[in-house]
């Protein structure tokens, strides 16, 4: 079992700074969920946590366990890879379903949608 007190002071300092700044970025992103006004604006906020926040915490983990075990620890990169590939898919699906609903309920009209409807009048296509 490896213990955190085994970590030399210089490494502990780097790890602490990385973890805290990663957590701070993620916190600001979550704060955005409260502060921003519309649904589409709020989808932007959590991307802070899934990009910079995640990168900083993954970097902290790499430094911490590389120093503790005395060999390079890189499997944390897989976390970054998976998160980068999957998180945007979720955000895109959320935005698309919100847009679908807004269009169906006619709460949002984009200038291009009207143009499209006019173009799809019977006998035109």
């Amino acid at each position: 079992m490896i213990q955190a007190p085994d970590l030399p002071q210089w490494a502990a300092l780097i790890v602490a700074v990385l973890v805290l700044s990663g957590a701070a970025v993620t916190l600001v992103g979550s704060l955005g969920l409260l502060r921003l006004r519309s649904f589409y604006e709020r989808v932007h906020a959590p991307t802070l946590g899934s990009t910079l926040g995640m990168t900083l915490i993954v970097a902290a983990s790499i430094v911490c366990f590389s120093v503790l075990r005395g060999r390079l620890s890189v499997h944390e990169i897989v976390i970054a890879l998976f998160l980068t590939c999957t998180a945007p898919v979720g955000f895109i699906l959320l935005a698309r379903s919100a847009l679908y609903r807004d269009r169906a309920e006619r709460r949002l009209s984009l200038p291009w949608d009207e143009e499209e409807e006019a173009g799809e009048m019977p006998g035109k296509d």
């Binding site: 970025v25 600001v28 992103g29 704060l31 955005g32 502060r35 921003l36 519309s38 589409y40 604006e41 989808v43 932007h44 906020a45 991307t47 802070l48 899934s50 990009t51 910079l52 620890s73 890189v74 499997h75 990169i77 897989v78 890879l81 980068t84 590939c85 998180a87 945007p88 955000f91 895109i92 935005a95 698309r96 847009l99 984009l110 291009w112």
Partner: protein, 162 residues
Amino acid sequence: MRRWLPYPGLALALLLVWLLLSQSVSVGQLLLGSGAALVGTRTMAVLRPPRSRRVRLAPLMKLAGLVAVDVVRSNLAVAAIILFPRKGRVSGFVRIPLELTERGGLALLGLILTATPGTLWVEYDQRRRTLLLHVLDLIDEEEWANLIKSRYETLLLQAFEQ
């Protein structure tokens, strides 16, 4: 060969991820990883995705560098918007006509734009070849369209299209 290993590149990538996850290159893990890679690629073959053409790596590397810088910059920009809301900030939709039609390239562009805070890929119209993008801090629509076309789309076209 094609029957057993329909996507050699994908199989190799799966094996690498497996070895990274298990943090060992023992014979047992190599066998398990190869098994997982075989099953994974054969499942992929059942889905019959259209075969993508050869991808050029150099433009992709350059793109990765650009995206890394942009992600950090827009993280800070969006954090500033959340912490210090300023009056008069407008968010909204932008429609951007794209030349890129390769599915892999479009998927990558979707990942990049959505992973970058401040821009959100909402919808791609295949018939009109236009992308609907939501921008958190919309100042000039034209400028956003030009930025995305010149910064990302050109490189993606070089990487994916012939």
